[in-house]
Structure formats: C-alpha cells, structure tokens
Subunit: 293 residues, 2 copies
Amino acid sequence: MKAAGELGYRPNALAQGLISRRTHLVAVIMSSLTMLHYPEVLAELSHRLTERDLRMLLFSLEAESDVDGVLEQVWRHSVDGVICAAHLTDSQVEQFIAHRVPLVLYNRLSGRAPATSVACDSVAGQRELVERLLAAGHRRFAVVAGPADSYVGEERRRAALARLGEAGIATVPERRGDFSYASGGEAMIALMAEAKQLDAVVCVNDLMAIGAIDAARERFGLRIPDDLSVVGFDGTDPAGWNSYRLCSIRQPVRRMTQAAVDMLLERVEDARIPPERRLFSGQFMEGQSARLA
Amino acid sequence: MKAAGELGYRPNALAQGLISRRTHLVAVIMSSLTMLHYPEVLAELSHRLTERDLRMLLFSLEAESDVDGVLEQVWRHSVDGVICAAHLTDSQVEQFIAHRVPLVLYNRLSGRAPATSVACDSVAGQRELVERLLAAGHRRFAVVAGPADSYVGEERRRAALARLGEAGIATVPERRGDFSYASGGEAMIALMAEAKQLDAVVCVNDLMAIGAIDAARERFGLRIPDDLSVVGFDGTDPAGWNSYRLCSIRQPVRRMTQAAVDMLLERVEDARIPPERRLFSGQFMEGQSARLA
DNA sequence: CTGTTAGCGCATTCAG
DNA sequence: CTGAATGCGCTAACAG
C-alpha cells in the first residue's frame, strides 16, 4: 500500500467498474445548454456530484430526437444513474427500468411511466406572479409561452391562463417562443400588433422576458413598468441586472440539484426504493419590471 | 450478429475500453461554468465531440486548487484525451506527458512545458479595440482587468496597456474584477471615483463590460456611448442585447472547439504528433457601446 | 472462415 | 490475516 502510493499507482476505474458494477459515473442529459438557466444547474450539479464522489458524463441534445442515441451510449457505459433534464417518452422511461438504471427527472414529470423527479413548482410560482399582477389592477394580459412540447413551458402557460380565467379574464393573446431572447422580442412585437393596449406580459422564462422588455422599450418606447409590466420565470443572473430587475420566480437550484443527486444515490444503493416526486417552491422576486401596487 | 441486435445486446464500454485502451472518453476541465462565455463553449464542445463518437466527462472547478483532485480522477478513468479550459501548472502539464494522455489547452497557453493549444488571439483583438477607440479620439482610458492569475485576462490587459503606451498614454487607472457582472459594476464605480473624467473603459470580458455599463448608467447617469465608451471581449449573447449592444471581439467558438477536438483526436490516434498552437482571430463587433468616430 | 483461448486490471472468494 | 484463484465482458491472437 505504501509502495503503491509512492510509485504513483492509481486503481483503474474501468476495471473497478467492470467487476464491482459501480462506475461512479452519472450521466447528465440536458437539452439546450445555452438556455441561460442551465449553466447554473450544470455547475451546481457538477459540484453536488463531486461531493458524493461521482463523475459526470454530460450529454447535450441538439435535437430532442437524439435522445435514443444518447441512451444507447448511456447503457453501454454502465453508469450508476442518470439525471435527465430533457424530454423523455414513456417508452424511454421504461427502458431505464428494464436496464435497471436509476433515473431522476429534473424539472419535469414523467407521463404514464412513474419516475423519480425533482422540480420547481411552476404552477404555484406562476399563479403567484399572476395573482400579484391582478392585485395591482392589471387586466389586459398577454402570455409569451414556450414551445408546445416543453413540459415546464406548458405547465407555466396553463397555470397563468388558469389563474387569469379564475379572475374572469378569458381572452388572452398568446405567442409561442423558443425560450430565447430573440423569440421573446418577436413575441412582444407580435402581441403589440395584435392587442391595442396591454397591462402585463407574462413570459414563461426570464430570457424571453428580457427579450420582451428590450423590444418593448426599443420598438415601442414603452417604460417598464410604468407603461407595461413584464414578468419572467427562473430567477437567472441576468434577471437581476440593473437594466432589467425582472419580477420573476427564482428556482432553488442549489437545493434542487442537491435533492436530485441525493435521490439518485439512494436508488443506486438500493434499487428497490420506489419512485418519488419532490416539488420545490420557487421564491418570488419583486424586481422592478412589474407595477405591483 | 443479427440475434444480438434483436435481443438488444450492447457491448460494454468498460470492457471494451479495458482491453482496447480506447475509452472514447474525453475529459473536459473548466473553471467557472457560470462565466457566461463557457456555456456556449461547452455546448459546442459537446456537439463536436459527439460528432467524432466521443463522450464528455465534465469536470468543473470550484477553486483552481481542485485541479489535482480532478487529474487524479482523469488518470483513473483512462480517458482518451483531455481538453482543459482551466489553469494548469507546468508540473501538471508534464503529468499528461508522463501518463501519455493527449492534452489540448483551450484559450490558454502553457508555460515552460510545451502543450497543444487553441486560443483566440487576445492580443490582436484587444489591440484592435484600443486602436479604434484611439482613432475616434479617446484619450482618457481606464481598464477593468480580470484576476491576476487568469491567463486570458492578463493577456488582454497587457495588450490594452501596451497599445495605449504606444500612443503615449502611460497612466491608465485600473481595477481588477473577477469577470462577473457585479465586479464590473464595482470596478466602474471605483474608477469613476479615482478618475475625474473618462473617455473609455476597456473591460477584458463582456460580462464586466455589461456590469460597468449598468453602473455607469445607474450610478452616474452617463449615456453610453455619448458620455462614455465601454468595450468588452468575447462576443457572448448578452453582449448583443438591445440594452447593451456591446462593442466587443467575438471569439470564433465553433471553429475553436472544432479545432480543439480535431487536434486532440489526431494525438489520440498518433501520440507522436508534436505539440501545436493554433491561434484564431476574433471578429470585431462594432455594437453601439463605443463612440468610434 | 468459425471456434477457442488468453488476458486487460481489478474485487471477491476461498484456502492456508 | 496473508496469498492464490476466479471472473467481470470484451478483443485479439490463435488453432481447427
């Protein structure tokens, strides 16, 4: 043992993994890495994994259709588990059970197939945002939604529309973006063309809200929040920049990633632990992009 | 073979790697994942690696001192090669040679120990920025530098000061930040306190430039670029946002990551290929944050 | 060309 | 408690 250390011996992780059936590898699957909120998630995940003596095998998807290719690699590398922040079909979720690879879904729930997941409560967060806007007297709303196939995007959109419906506001102009800055601006411009007058624009993520604000200011000379309120979602760094001071819901990324890693590791150590869903509340950030009184 | 495919057989990557000595694993080492420029690099790297049938083992550093721990893991996992965007000491670079693991440095050069690297030409880029500012008549400059131990940060800082020196401008107030938005704002405030009057602030990255602009506007009511010119470096997404339209140098991330992967793979396939340095020119982005005429 | 065997570097078992 | 044998799943070299 001492001689080993002295001459710089390192156990070979491949051989160890091959025989012990524990590779200390966790695959992380993410859709769009550049989507502003994900870098923070990734950084936190990386640290939480390292703390637990796990290594991260990162897969990012150019198109959602690449998932099968990624899963192929995942099986071959006999990872200890997978954290997935991309859309999985029921059949894909079932493959994890078949391959006996523990899975934790990040910020999304599974469909029919039950799976362990950790998520930020989009519904509660989105309702709170709308609620506050309503309380401040806003009546003419518009929504900038995400792609129809985005889980969180749709959840937030529906939550916003539902809460507006409860307040008797049934017709709400909508536009879909792709979560990007540019699409937020385009949505804003389209909405302004459609609706003569707007009080508040609800965007399902911060980046589109930022794009919307920039477009509202530049194209229409609107003052935020005096002429128009804009709210976002996620609580990313740029949301806090002076130029925006976005009213948003901050996801507790630290605790969520911690939970994801903990839940995954539990199931690595005991595969019989049943699926579990953990929902975290987001924190309301008042900012200055919405008139709230 | 057909029966194999039918019953869903997958070759075990561990066993393959153990015997063939090719794991198709590439370790990517990055310092601060949240540093705005890196998510883009990471996304590109991921795609370029996937194209070449390689998987990414991602290590992010909380502190630069973690490097040794990371390298330990790297050796154990017998990766095919490493792409490193974090600071390495000469002794660490030499360990790669000893372990016969090909290494490509990203946006940094090695010290004494020769290593393959790909980088964006900071000196040329920074000189171009300063040059244009000088040509437009700016004389009273300030510099917002990065941490003293950052390779690119120092390179850009020295390039800016050198070019200013050539123009006969010897005394330039300086502040160091940590590349973050907040530190850019703080540096701006400190510089305004020190210098009575400023024409241009040269920031060594976009994020600090954005922070500086926000602080200049909010704390001092300055109009950019009428009252003050601010330039950044990197050409990240937020630099292009309407609120900033930063004058900056865009790094050709796509080509740089492509080159990094290509150069690495060459050396995986033939370990005798000698070290090589590839320097890419950044592209000047005029933006609207600097008065250039 | 198909079928067998050795061994990659370990952990785990068993005998001594 | 120390030491030798077995096999994880594969590839490569070998024999039939």
